[in-house]
Symmetry: C2
Subunit: 202 residues, 2 copies
């Protein structure tokens, strides 16, 4: 049995979403057509508008509708002298949710990956170099993912920062809060030991 | 930190999809904007077109772009005299995939639910009654869900069919194929016993 072409096309298009397989896509399509036509139209418009309007911040490369994003427009953050390097806009959100950081960000929108042809310019490191040369950045905080590519990217940026005499730090890796040692992988546990901190008594 | 309005709106609209919570919606929105803008536009168009074009089959009420759906236009199926009653278009798909049934369908698009104000007319039973009176239907197969509402709906339709002297059957309930008795619930196991079949030796 063939479904109506518009329904098949909707199911096919929904499968583009991450984590949506054939069965979920079918369920979504039927739910929209049976009960949520209004919501379906809203989603259609939101998609078209977001794809049309959202571009990259001129300063930090994150996704935004404005030329310069909200965080980069914040004087207090700019004056902090801190620049945190992350891979994606979702990482910015995650760090902002901790409430522990009040500096600026630089969003690579990926990581170095020579095998895929992604070099320094593709992740905006030319622009980062200009900023290191011009701005008054006192510290670079490397918050790329703890993967092979993320580490290589962090290493490359640390070298770049050293050439501009900007001090650099890497976020700590170790046992996650609330985790149990028994279930933590070897590499993480190794980091937790090599990065141990002396207990200080005031 | 506030996200750009178009991004927030996209995340809000994506949450309308079944099974999509705030975190998945955010992941979907970022993936579309970072890597799949083309796919995002296609999805936008597919949604708008499906909502605009897809209506209900005049004969069986399933979702279709045509006035009469493909299955209802099939002479062989119409001549079979069999009419299977299901709750949703997804049920039609599921039954079609078994390859065991070659009759027509009637899709209720829901079930009787007096507490929610859903009566016989809301699920098209007036149209079903006309069809029972006019058509040459020899058997009604009740394939509503084995829930309280589904059973009540099946019961109501069985009564309707009796008034029109059309014989009625209910699909079998029992232990699912590949299931283990130990993990089957009591009601299902009860059905499996009361619906047991004599083993015949040819």
């Amino acid at each position: 049995m063939r479904l109506s072409p518009a329904i098949s096309e909707l199911i096919r298009a929904l499968r583009m979403l991450p984590g949506v397989g054939p069965k979920s896509a079918q369920r979504m399509a039927f739910q929209i057509l049976e009960r949520q036509r209004e919501g379906g139209l809203q989603l259609s418009q939101a998609l078209a508008q977001a794809v049309e309007r959202v571009g990259h911040c001129e300063v930090c490369r994150t996704l935004t509708e404005a030329q310069v994003c909200e965080l980069c427009s914040d004087d207090a953050r700019r004056n902090s002298g801190l620049l945190c390097i992350v891979e994606t806009p979702a990482d910015v959100l995650a760090i902002e949710q901790t409430g522990q950081y009040a500096g600026c960000y630089f969003v690579l929108m990926g990581h170095l990956s020579p095998l895929d042809g992604i070099g320094p310019e593709d992740i905006g490191l030319d622009r980062l170099a200009e900023r290191l040369a011009a701005d008054t950045i006192s510290e670079i905080i490397l918050a790329t993912n703890p993967t092979i590519e993320g580490e290589a990217t962090a290493h490359y940026i640390a070298e770049l920062a050293r050439q501009h005499n900007v001090s650099t730090s890497r976020i700590a890796h170790g046992v996650p809060v609330g985790g149990e040692l028994e279930y933590v992988d070897q590499a993480t546990l190794g980091h937790a030991f090599s990065g141990r901190k002396r207990v200080e008594f005031d």
